[in-house]
């Protein structure tokens, strides 16, 4: 019965072919970005080719000449790390209150938290900008951070996780004389670590990639984050694609490295959100 193994092999071959073609389609734009960035003038004279005749780093030199690139990368990192830490702290504390501290009106307060989850930042951009102008906080790091200090999504995610922790654990700790702060830090937080990791991934990525709010609130080049810096770069060099692509490469590298290191957690965290 040769046909069974033959069809099996053919199937396997077809599977690999399709999956590999797909991978090329997903990865090729990244490769092309790198190729363009090292091509003199950004355009290959002899049509598309994977081999660059005279590779050059001129585009990178020009990029670092027109923009405080290190500062911008640092801003993106600093803001993303600060957002992540703040959201982890504020969300986990609120989640603990909703999961373990009974108080009058708790359902109402929680409903208000959930309602804020429904409001897209886009709806708030105009009044937030006005508020920041009034508070004279426009064009500051704080303004970049402000809308993402607390996250209703994070509170919701962590509350669900904390309600899954058996109550016997903290009751036992209470009997042993532990207070809320102690229960929170030594029992709750370690037990909901997977959900904390998921929230961290979301917070970091959405801060790293956010564009509309920085676009509205930041003017100074020294305070820009990467997406904003890149978009401004495009405005300055509409036709100099090598410089624009060099900027893209610089902005992809840090997040790609982080992704390679934390890939399993990132994908698992994403998958986790769909399973409610």
């Amino acid at each position: 019965m040769p046909d069974i193994t033959t069809t099996r092999l053919a199937r396997r071959g077809l599977l690999y072919l399709v999956v590999a073609l797909g991978a090329v389609a997903m990865l090729f734009p990244f490769l092309w970005t790198v190729i363009t960035s090292i091509t003199p003038g950004g355009t290959l004279s002899s049509g598309p080719s994977l081999v660059v005749e005279d590779p050059t780093l001129d585009a990178y030199r020009e990029l670092f000449g027109v923009m405080p690139v290190w500062r911008i990368v640092g801003n993106s990192f600093g803001i993303a790390v600060a957002t992540t830490l703040l959201q982890l702290v504020t969300s986990s504390m609120a989640a603990y209150a909703f999961a373990r501290l009974p108080f009058r009106g708790r359902n109402v307060v929680f409903a208000v938290y959930l309602a804020t989850l429904m409001i897209p930042l886009q709806v708030l951009v105009v009044p937030l900008f006005i508020e920041m102008t009034r508070l004279q906080l426009n064009d500051t790091y704080f303004a970049l951070l402000a809308p993402t200090i607390a996250s209703a999504f994070g509170v919701f995610l962590l509350k669900q996780a904390m309600e899954g922790v058996p109550r016997e654990l903290d009751e036992a700790a209470t009997i042993d004389g532990a207070g809320h702060l102690r229960i929170f830090t030594t029992i709750m937080l370690p037990l909901v670590r997977p959900s904390l990791a998921t929230l961290a991934v979301f917070a970091f990525m959405s801060s790293w990639n956010s564009f509309l709010w920085p676009l509205v609130v930041i003017r100074s080049p020294e305070l820009m984050t990467l997406p904003l810096g890149l978009a401004t770069l495009r405005g300055q060099f509409t036709t100099e694609w090598d410089v624009v692509m060099a900027g893209s490469v610089v902005s992809i590298i840090p997040i790609a490295l982080l992704y390679i290191v934390a890939q399993r957690h990132i994908i698992a965290g994403m998958a986790h959100t769909g399973l409610k």
């Binding site: 991978a23 504020t90 209150a97 359902n107 938290y113 790293w208 509205v216 978009a231 992809i252 769909g274």
Partner: protein, 321 residues
């Protein structure tokens, strides 16, 4: 969700007893305990409540207030009542930007769902290198919209972009992509679908893995072929993940902005302008903050309505395994 107001709920006996005691005798000791509990609640809630009030609720109220005024962000506000809303509803531009946003969703959602489902089915099989491919497909998801939009603007560059060079080489027509009113929105849809394919794939993959293997096995024993198994088992049991993808895609689709702003700027001549782009332009280009706020509220009402409609209709087509 628990019901903390119902004292009979098991699981919080100590706290419930404490509250009952507070109500029974309002002695100084119990009042002190009550105050102490309020203190704990405040301590845990305020770090998130203060920013949410300051940067979500206050602006929300502010936005409603601004939407009832004519205001150019500089000089004084002028009360116009519901005029901004009336003006927007009668303005063909509003119809155009909502229409473009819906067109974006109508193009994006089938593309990303069918593609993501295909990938998920492929990558759900056991083969060597599977995790590498999963990772590769997911890489665009972590990349920022601005980068994706720039890279695709370059790939789809009508003059010397890679896509048109390839199309030209094999004798196909070379569209003007983002410079051509007909192709501007499809260009954005293409880039968006490319970026989000991996995300949809991961969600559906998680859904596929939740399908019990013995159900599939039983169907196979009963002689169901691959297509029948897909139709009658996989698709129905995947409906919770499908529901999640559809809800998230719709909400995100209504808020689409970054890729449009970078790739086409809403042009040429408004051909790819979307609602959020219009909100941005009204405020920061034309100084019409009142109308922009009113448009924000129309968008919010639409998102809320669509989401409520979906949650309502969920029972009809979502099966929980």
């Amino acid at each position: 969700m628990s019901a903390p107001t119902a004292p009979s709920i098991a699981g919080a006996p100590a706290a419930t007893a404490g509250r009952a005691a507070t109500r029974a005798r309002r002695g100084p000791a119990s009042r002190r305990r009550g105050l102490k509990r309020v203190g704990w609640v405040l301590l845990f809630l305020l770090p998130s409540a203060i920013p949410l009030i300051a940067f979500v609720l206050v602006p929300m109220v502010g936005s409603a207030w601004v939407s009832l005024h004519r205001w150019n962000l500089i000089s004084g506000m002028e009360w116009v009542g519901l005029d901004n809303y009336a003006k927007l509803l009668g303005d063909p531009t509003t119809r155009k930007v909502f229409g473009n946003t819906l067109m974006y969703i109508a193009g994006y959602l089938p593309l990303v769902y069918v593609g993501g489902l295909g990938l998920a089915l492929l990558l759900n099989q056991a083969f060597r290198g599977r995790s590498f491919f999963r990772a590769a497909y997911f890489l665009p998801v972590v990349t920022s919209w601005v980068v994706v939009a720039l890279v695709w603007q370059w790939l789809l560059n009508p003059g010397n972009g890679l896509v048109n060079q390839v199309l030209g080489a094999i004798g196909l027509p070379e569209p003007g992509w983002w410079t051509d009113p007909t192709w501007a929105l499809p260009s954005v849809i293409l880039a968006s679908a490319w970026k989000d394919l991996g995300f949809v794939m991961v969600i559906l993959l998680a859904g596929l893995q939740a399908i019990p293997g013995d159900v599939m096995e039983a169907a196979r024993m009963d002689g169901a072929n691959a297509w029948q198994r897909f139709r009658s088992i996989t698709l129905p049991l995947l409906s919770p993940s499908t529901f999640f993808v559809v809800v998230i895609s719709l909400v995100n689709g209504f808020q689409v902005f970054d890729q449009v702003y970078v790739m086409t700027g809403g042009g040429p001549s408004g051909a790819s302008q979307v609602v959020v782009g219009q909100i941005y332009d009204l405020t920061f280009r034309y100084g019409r903050a009142g109308e922009a706020s009113a448009l924000s509220w129309l968008l919010f009402a639409l998102i809320l309505g669509v989401t409520a409609f979906q949650l309502h209709g969920q029972k009809r087509w979502v099966n929980h395994a």
